[in-house]
């Protein structure tokens, strides 16, 4: 077991973990932050996308021990005092979610895109979220939601 410490959504957590523990497992099982989802085991689907030190990563590709001392934001940290973040609000407005399983990862990838490129084209949006699979929406309303969010941020 190894001791790891990280700050997630403003709270510092310390745990002893097996070295093979994935970051997403650590978040879900040790911290109870189940908003981050696991949809595959090949880092393909993007449901586990979170923000580590300001960069979006698929949290199934990192070991918890690699993130000792990291500053992390998950979907649970996106809203403020119960109020949706503008990106979340746009997903709701534009019906950018159906079953909701891919949604936390989609919101995170959209956040990263808009951080780097506040006025993305449709093509740039589609490219930015191609690492996040959605089986429900055909991506139509997700792209619309990101376009809408870009006008608010």
């Amino acid at each position: 077991m190894m001791k790891v410490s990280m700050t997630v959504n403003g709270t510092t957590y310390e745990h002893d973990v097996e070295p093979r523990t994935l970051l997403v497992q650590h978040l879900r099982e040790d911290m109870g932050l189940t908003g981050t989802h696991v949809g595959c085991d090949t880092s393909s689907c993007g449901a586990c996308t979170i923000i580590v030190n300001g960069e979006t990563v698929k949290s199934c590709t990192l070991l918890a021990v690699q993130c000792d001392g990291a500053e992390i934001k998950t979907i649970e940290g996106m809203s403020t005092n119960g109020e949706l973040h503008p990106i979340q609000e746009s997903f709701r407005e534009k019906h950018g979610l159906q079953c909701g399983f891919c949604t936390p990862g989609m919101v995170m990838s959209s956040w990263q895109l808009l951080e780097r490129n506040p006025k993305p084209s449709e093509h740039e949006i589609r490219h930015a979220i191609e690492g996040n699979f959605c089986r429900c929406t055909g991506y139509h309303n997700i792209v619309k939601a990101v376009q809408d969010a870009a006008t608010k941020l």
Binding site: I75, F91, G100, H140
Partner: protein, 811 residues
């Protein structure tokens, strides 16, 4: 069997109001979804998000071989590992007298012989029959330990030849998947009029023929299947959290058939579910095994599939090998249609596997056309592949693909515009009220339709005349541009129960809704349908709030817990609004009837003197009225109350539909093909769908988008790839191509409204329409684009190398 008179009933015909003409602002409005807040915040609760104190973790040991005798299973080393609680093998389950999951629909041979029904043990006993077949169940303190122990279980296999191809499986000498299923044939089946169809082809002026493999698809709901099971010995009660589209059916199958436990001692909870697309309809052995194991070890057990395990165990879809023919007369009228299909059901019969290639496929084979002769012949077989069952559309995409590919090909062959050819052959409009429903040659009676209306609107939205000019211009510039059509019909809300029972269904196909009106006028609605993306918490609240004249916030919709909701059949086959929505309306009507009696007492009149408008009962022609809230309070504080009236406003209703509902539509796909790479790019996608009355257009459009994307996936990207030994070569999301955002265009959606004449809301269904329509539209567009190369047909998926190779061969 050529004709099924049971199907010909049209049921009660009633003219219903056009929704929204008298009511509040809720019907027909894109009300934002109630469920979104929790899902957006990461506060949705999916099965794997639940944990119980003292829970153990289950991991299945699965066969790496497609077909093998199980020589021995040695668990001794694995069981000795620290943290391992217990390991079960097939012998343990067999000794406990437990059979595996069952098939819920009996389809017998043409000659009347009973369908073959090989067993499907929870854990293999003497043989494995597909890669991923479960051999042992390891229970450990944590996932890591369970995975390590599963790897340490030593299984000795004697590998056998495997059979993958559905047609080859029927040949003498093919490897036998089950000893008691000769030639791997579960049944053969036919529908339609063989003699008339023979005659149509003998007298045909032109015959169009196609042969294809409607390839095997992997569902890939993004949430993998999972189960958390718990047995409470204090009251002998089981609880199962699971990823189900129909928790009551799961409870019935597990309790009555698989584990033989008292039904009232099993609670099944399907909380938020991360997509189903059919794959979570079925009661799988894996969940049953975990539930059984939880009692054996006296602790909660959790199992969550990893993605490759999902590829090996979630029921796949399609896998039809088909020869299809269409006969035409000299004027371009369709005179006959014939298909012969070999349908793989995989290694075992899943719950509804047998009805998919038959009653959900053959019955749709007339499409939207006045073909006077249709004959469908299906041989259903077992192969050494993952079981096959309903996947978004389930049989109807396969039927529509056959018809719509034939129609576009036939039009091209006789030199007629594909839109004109369709308009010439469409069944004329009928509303099911003034005009009778339309009786097809393959047993169904369509409820209402205006097929030319949908196509004409799609042609207008596409600006077809201009589009053809663009295509001509593109071609003269050396570009490959193609236009493809698909005009589809689908049958959803399968019903009535008596008819489906006569056709072999072992379940009823009604649904249920209970409404509990509280003293303060607030409402809790309990429904048998299950929402896993469809937005029922919103749509169902809209219809209740609208009907009772209360606010959306005054209605709470609960589903998914067998302890609370009435026995309903769940959500699949685009049935929720047409069937469960109708049950809701029945309960609402009961509330209004009783409410009127209470209101009449308060207003000192008779219920017949009253009308219910905007949430109040008003004496007709006066301003005397009493509000819904007042009546609710009176029902629960019955001091001044009608004589012989029970207190309370609490009703439950079941609704068994009179007929299927038949949505339809017209889709047009425009593609461009990269000459150098063969890559297909969809540049426009125009959809006009008719699902009857629409409650929430935003949700309906969202269903169309997702459905269309799923069908585009089949046309261009997806497909399970097996080698001859039965290995599934692309069993991961790295290898199996799921459509991504950069593969999709924006979709241009629109609708027409032809109300269903036989349900109270006048609604049809929309969950599968896009998938059914889009696959042939895309393939037709690609073939159109390649027409200068003389390419007449290509096998799906139309991946770049396949398209490129076709162009090179043509050169």
């Amino acid at each position: 069997m050529y004709w099924l008179p049971q199907h010909c009933q049209s049921g009660s015909r009633r003219r219903h109001k056009t929704l929204g003409d008298t009511m509040s602002d809720l019907i027909g409005k894109s009300v934002k979804r109630v469920e979104d807040n929790r899902l957006l915040k990461g506060e949705g609760k999916y099965t794997d998000d639940f944990n119980m104190p003292n829970q153990a973790i289950g991991v299945y040991v699965r066969s790496p071989h497609a077909h093998a005798n199980l020589v021995s299973v040695d668990i001794s080393a694995a069981e000795a590992m620290g943290g391992v609680i217990k390991i079960f093998t097939g012998k343990d389950i067999k000794d406990a007298g437990i059979v595996g999951s069952i098939c819920g629909w009996q389809v017998d041979f043409k000659n009347g012989d009973t369908m073959k029904e090989p067993g499907h043990p929870i854990l293999a006993v003497d043989k494995v029959r597909h890669v991923g077949d479960a051999v042992a169940l390891v229970i450990a303190e944590d996932k890591g330990t369970a995975v390590d122990a599963a790897a340490a279980v030593e299984v000795n296999y004697e590998v056998l030849d495997a059979i993958v191809d559905p047609k080859a499986a029927t040949q003498d000498g093919a490897p036998q998947v089950h000893d008691d299923v000769p030639n791997n044939t579960i049944f053969d089946w036919e529908l339609g009029n063989k003699d008339e169809t023979d005659a149509a082809f003998e007298n045909a002026h032109h015959v169009t023929e196609l042969s294809y493999h409607n390839q095997k698809l992997v569902p890939n709901a993004i949430e993998p299947r999972a189960a958390l099971a718990y047995f409470d010995s204090n009251d002998d009660k089981y609880t199962l959290y699971t990823t189900s589209q129909n928790p009551h059916l799961a409870r019935l199958i597990i309790a009555a058939f698989v584990l033989s436990i008292p039904e009232h001692k099993l609670r099944v909870i399907a909380p938020d579910v991360g997509g189903g697309f059919g794959s979570k309809i079925f009661t799988y052995n894996d969940e049953c095994g975990v539930l059984w194991a939880s009692k054996q070890i006296g602790r909660p057990v959790k199992w969550t599939a990893d993605r490759t395990e999902a590829f090996f165990t979630d029921c796949h879809g399609r896998d039809h090998v088909t020869d299809a023919k269409m006969a035409l007369d000299a004027d371009g009228n369709i005179t006959g249609l014939r298909t012969k299909t070999y349908a793989s059901l995989g290694a075992y019969l899943s719950n509804f596997s047998t009805c998919v290639p038959t009653y959900l496929h053959g019955t749709l084979m007339q499409g939207l056309y006045t073909s006077p002769a249709v004959h469908v012949d299906v041989t259903a077989v077992v192969t050494n592949t993952v079981p096959v069952d309903a996947l978004r559309g389930a049989g109807r995409p396969e039927a529509t693909f056959s018809i719509e590919r034939l129609v576009d090909t036939a039009a091209r062959e006789i030199g007629m515009d594909p839109a004109e050819f369709r308009l010439k052959n469409f069944i004329p409009p009928f509303d099911g009220v003034k005009q009778e429903g339309y009786q097809t040659q393959v047993a169904l009676q369509y409820d209402s339709g205006n097929y030319e209306g949908a196509l004409k609107k799609a042609l207008k939205n596409a600006d077809y005349e201009n589009l053809k000019k663009e295509r001509a211009a593109a071609r003269s510039d050396g570009k490959l541009m193609g236009i493809g059509f698909s005009t589809y019909i689908e049958a959803c809300g399968i019903a009535p129960s008596a008819v489906v029972g006569s056709l072999g269904a072992r379940v009823g196909l009604y649904d249920a809704a209970s409404i509990r009106v509280h003293p303060t006028g607030k409402v809790t609605l309990y429904v048998g349908a299950h929402s896993h993306g469809q937005g029922h918490e919103t749509t169902f609240a809209q219809i209740v709030a609208d009907s009772l004249g209360i606010g959306m916030d005054d209605v709470n919709v609960l589903h998914g817990d067998t302890e609370n909701v009435p026995f309903g059949m769940g959500t699949y086959g685009s049935r929720s609004l047409a069937v469960c929505g109708s049950a809701i309306m029945k309960s609402v009507d009961k509330v209004k009837e009783k409410g009127a009696r209470i209101a009449a007492h308060k207003l000192e009149c008779t219920p017949e003197d009253l009308e219910f408008v905007s949430g109040s009962w008003t004496v007709k022609g006066t301003d005397k009225s009493v509000g819904f809230g007042d009546v609710c309070l009176t029902a629960y504080v019955p001091h001044d109350y009608p004589e012989n009236e029970e207190p309370g406003l609490d009703f439950s209703s079941f609704y068994d539909p009179a007929n299927f509902v038949y949505p339809f539509g017209a889709h047009i796909c425009v593609v461009e093909i990269d000459k150098d790479t063969g890559e297909v790019k969809i540049i426009r996608y125009i959809a006009v769908d008719d699902a009857g009355n629409i409650i929430n257009p935003m949700i309906v459009e969202g269903q169309v988008h997702g459905g269309v994307a799923h069908g585009i996936g089949q046309a261009l990207y997806e497909g399970a790839v097996y080698d001859d030994s039965g290995q599934l070569l692309n069993a991961s999301m790295l290898d199996y191509c799921i459509p991504r955002a950069d593969n999709m265009p924006f979709f241009e959606t629109d609708h027409t409204v032809t109300p269903c004449p036989h349900n109270p809301l006048g609604v049809k269904g929309i969950g599968e329409a896009g998938t059914i329509a889009s696959t042939p539209a895309v393939v037709n567009a690609v073939i159109d684009a390649l027409s200068d190369y003389g390419v007449k047909d290509l096998q799906m998926p139309l991946v770049p190398q396949r398209v490129w190779a076709a162009m090179q061969q043509a050169k």
